[in-house]
Symmetry: C2
Subunit: 200 residues, 2 copies
């Protein structure tokens, strides 16, 4: 790359900030884009433009969509009394790909983390409590990661919702579908053993 | 992702076509872009726009740059008699990062590959021969990959340049700098052994 390749260099730097791309793969990606100018670079440019102009967070649940409220919040088929709390929009998408959840969502936008200085007000937990009351939510499902921060957040939310009168549940923990016992960590195995279900 | 998330879905599809990104990492990248709209999405958009508008292949050597001829071809400090032939622009960048090559380049844009139907005319080998004659090139360095296609291409170019009167050389093969012998493949080791150099 020459000194005048500063434009390409700037593009490489920006691409390297995407998750999953390091400096070397960002360079390869930039080269690929310049090479496939009409078939990839220009369409990608248009797609980014479209997303930048139209996609915004839903003011009710925090999902990203081109309409506000988002398609899920606006869907009359969704059960109004069932609310699933997730940490990030990516978790919402993962649950939607499953396609079996009939309720609506609430995206926290993160997890409580005293070390990083993220407290209840940063996640808008008051807004969640208010939403549960105003929408008369019957059950809140806490679909938060099974990490220390995730479980702390789940605990704090459950405590806050105690006074509102909604049922609070969390995702089941156990053996993943298709999972081989031999490859599972000890924690998951012992949790699955403790939470065993009768079959007969 | 809702049905109206088609714009984001399209962006994910395009991102997944970049080398190094699969469908899952493309989804993460798209989410990251939407999240960091002002600090990443918009700058990336501008950078892509800039590259799409200004970067084009150099008509002399095939390098990508914002000027034509490119900064390397236009640099009067570069030795005119020394020409390095590479397969792709990425290889040129790799050599430039090394910073020790004082000559100019010629990018083939690929390698001879009878199986993929890529012949001498696709790589513009006649153009290379003509360039060597018109620019009075004294030495051509073939910096082509040490693969079957790379070595076939090197052999064909060397044969063609035989009548032009330039010296033709290739990169040295051997142990990489910092390389542990234990981790090297047998081919490299035996090549390095055959091409051993006297030290005393």
């Amino acid at each position: 790359m020459s000194d005048d390749g500063a434009r390409i260099g700037h593009l490489i730097q920006l691409l390297a900030r995407l998750p999953g791309l390091g400096p070397r793969s960002a360079r390869r990606a930039a080269l690929h884009l310049v090479k496939k100018r009409d078939s990839l670079l220009v369409p990608l440019l248009k797609a980014l433009e479209g997303v930048a102009e139209t996609v915004a967070p839903c003011t009710i649940c925090g999902n990203y969509d081109t309409i506000n409220p988002c398609a899920i919040c606006a869907d009359p088929e969704r059960q109004p009394g069932l609310l699933c709390v997730v940490a990030e929009v990516g978790d919402l998408w993962a649950l939607e790909r499953g396609g079996s959840f009939p309720g609506r969502y609430h995206v926290l936008g993160g997890l409580l983390s005293p070390l990083d200085g993220i407290g209840p007000e940063d996640l808008g937990l008051d807004r969640l409590t208010a939403r549960c009351q105003s929408e008369r939510v019957e059950e809140v499902i806490l679909a938060l990661p099974a990490t220390v921060d995730g479980q702390t957040t789940a605990h704090v939310i459950a405590k806050r919702l105690g006074g509102v009168g909604t049922t609070v549940s969390t995702l089941a923990q156990g053996v993943p579908v298709g999972g081989e016992l031999d490859y599972l960590d000890d924690g998951t195995l012992s949790t699955a053993l403790k939470a065993r279900r009768p079959v007969l």
